[in-house]
Assembly symmetry: C2
Homo-oligomer: 394 residues x 2
Amino acid sequence: MPDIAGATPRIARAGYKDWGRCDLTFVELSAGTTVAGVTTRNVCCSSEVELCRENLKGGKARALVVNAGNSNAFTGYRGRDAVEAITAKVATHLGCAQSEIFVSSTGVIGVPLPKDKAEVGLDRVFKTDPCTWEAAAHTIGTTDTFAKGAMASAMVDGRKVHLVGIIKGSGMIAPDMATMLGYIFTDAAVDAPFLQQLLSASNQSSFSCITVDSDTSTSDTVLAFATGKAGNAILRSLEDAGASAFASALNDVCRQLAQLVVRDGEGAQKFIEISVTGAISDDSARRVGLAIANSPLVKTAIAGEDANWGRVVMAVGKAGEHADRDKLSISFGAVTVARDGLPVDGYDETPVAAHLKGENINIGVDLGLGDGRATVWTCDLTHGYISINADYRS
Amino acid sequence: MPDIAGATPRIARAGYKDWGRCDLTFVELSAGTTVAGVTTRNVCCSSEVELCRENLKGGKARALVVNAGNSNAFTGYRGRDAVEAITAKVATHLGCAQSEIFVSSTGVIGVPLPKDKAEVGLDRVFKTDPCTWEAAAHTIGTTDTFAKGAMASAMVDGRKVHLVGIIKGSGMIAPDMATMLGYIFTDAAVDAPFLQQLLSASNQSSFSCITVDSDTSTSDTVLAFATGKAGNAILRSLEDAGASAFASALNDVCRQLAQLVVRDGEGAQKFIEISVTGAISDDSARRVGLAIANSPLVKTAIAGEDANWGRVVMAVGKAGEHADRDKLSISFGAVTVARDGLPVDGYDETPVAAHLKGENINIGVDLGLGDGRATVWTCDLTHGYISINADYRS
């Protein structure tokens, strides 16, 4: 992934857990960097999320700190103390306001983040050399099995601007409005309100369209930082030249990052894309898609490579959305298996079986009611998910 | 389980699947029997459910027919034809109206119920000897691993009245308003509107408080039949003598039946009772309880005998209900592990670990906001669930 002028990642070992790996990521941002963000709707959110929300009001950022191995969620005033110690120390180091420092933590819930370890980690990271985005992506991970990043570029105001994104997540994934620990960096100049508008829109068709297990994390956050070092005229609205190209590049990065989380879903063996059409609205289509994507019976059928479309019908019916059993059509891969509320007589099972043996599964649902459409992504539910989560110690 | 005067069960083999067992259950009801019912909210419901809803308006029943091995859901006009053939044949046999015959089917979705097999099965069952409730409970089951029944009695108008209930279900269990294939028979005399009122109320604290996998069946139905053969003065309202005793006995049977479904949850190794107190309303408490009960991460933690209360916090937070992180208390068994939004310092892990090793797990959540309370029941999520559902052919 390319360097982003004005955004410099570094990693170090704070020792939040008894492990040898780096677990603290520090990204220094040049003066003038704008920021936007979307955060979890979980009402039991962490101090980090609360502070992010407060700091987003200012729209300015000078640094991001990500702690891995301890989520600091549900830790009361001690958790808040640790976050404030971090922002104070970084602000002193950079000579900026505490409100320009953004902190995330991920890992076990309920254990206060050890302030002393954070301070040791920061002292180390301040002195270390910059690292690659790949190394940063690896360091923010916990149960992730691979480092996740994405990139895009766009022509804005005669200049090529770059975007890179890194993300972590594989379980407790069912974003409601936002979520995921994801960070996007760009050298484009974009003012904060417009960056927020674009990020919120991208989120609707990316992070809000994935689910691994229907569980919503207490810590999840997606932040976008724009350093402005590309030197383009500041983007303030969709009317500005290059704004559409930038929006499209941002969409692209968000969708790539979101899909990477599903591909690394805990125990996942298959990546499932569910396309819903013919709903009464796009929102309704998304909710139907997520009802299918969250159904344990659909997810286990796919794990078993079984074209059990009856379970898809069941999931459509329980979604609580407008649907008419007798107008419903369902396809697996390119083959329509049910149409207008009836199984298709003698459809060819061979291509369906072949499709289900692959890694990438497409399920199509047409509700036959209107023009609403949405695509959501999930993974299958396997023995691997059970093994990972029945053994992971609280 | 005791005989119920006026309700006579019989079983036979229709051969809906290629198996040697009986798969058709026929319960003849004496003239004057009243009926009440609650049915699934799944909008893709079966023809059987549609017909049940129509026939419930009449409030009178002369027979129940339950087909096992084929749910007849999502089968269009052919499915409807099969159900009407059954009601016509039974009505002719008994000399009653078709609207007094109630039919349920359970099993694979999307294959029309074979009308010829149903007719052969009915011819056989009409000629067979009555059977026990245990045999009927066994015959209505599909993936169930044991036959499920419950009983109770009450003194009404100086007479002892009896109730028996049978139920099937172990997967696709997340009732929304109603559900389950369950049948309750009583010799009490209860008029149909009052029976409906009592059944709907019982349902709220029994069938609506259980979940196995968050999936809602397309076929689920609970029906209560009152033959009146006990000879008591007809119960018409809660003011009538004995009505409270009867209501309490009905509650008791519904709760027993609901819990049996969870105990037989697919792959279940542990029975989990979740008590939520301090919510802003009983409904809110129930929704918080179900969010915990449906969380794959909570259910896998219990499977792993791990007191991972952080996952309970997460589930409370994602429920979409009023909750205040800093007022939340959580207990496992008799031990409070978190209080007022903080882990309890140095709580004794020994009794918690011992509790989690048992088969019956109690999770307590106090939201600290109001007087709303609810108890819900679920089971753990294990490798067994994956094995059963990744292999079950559509």
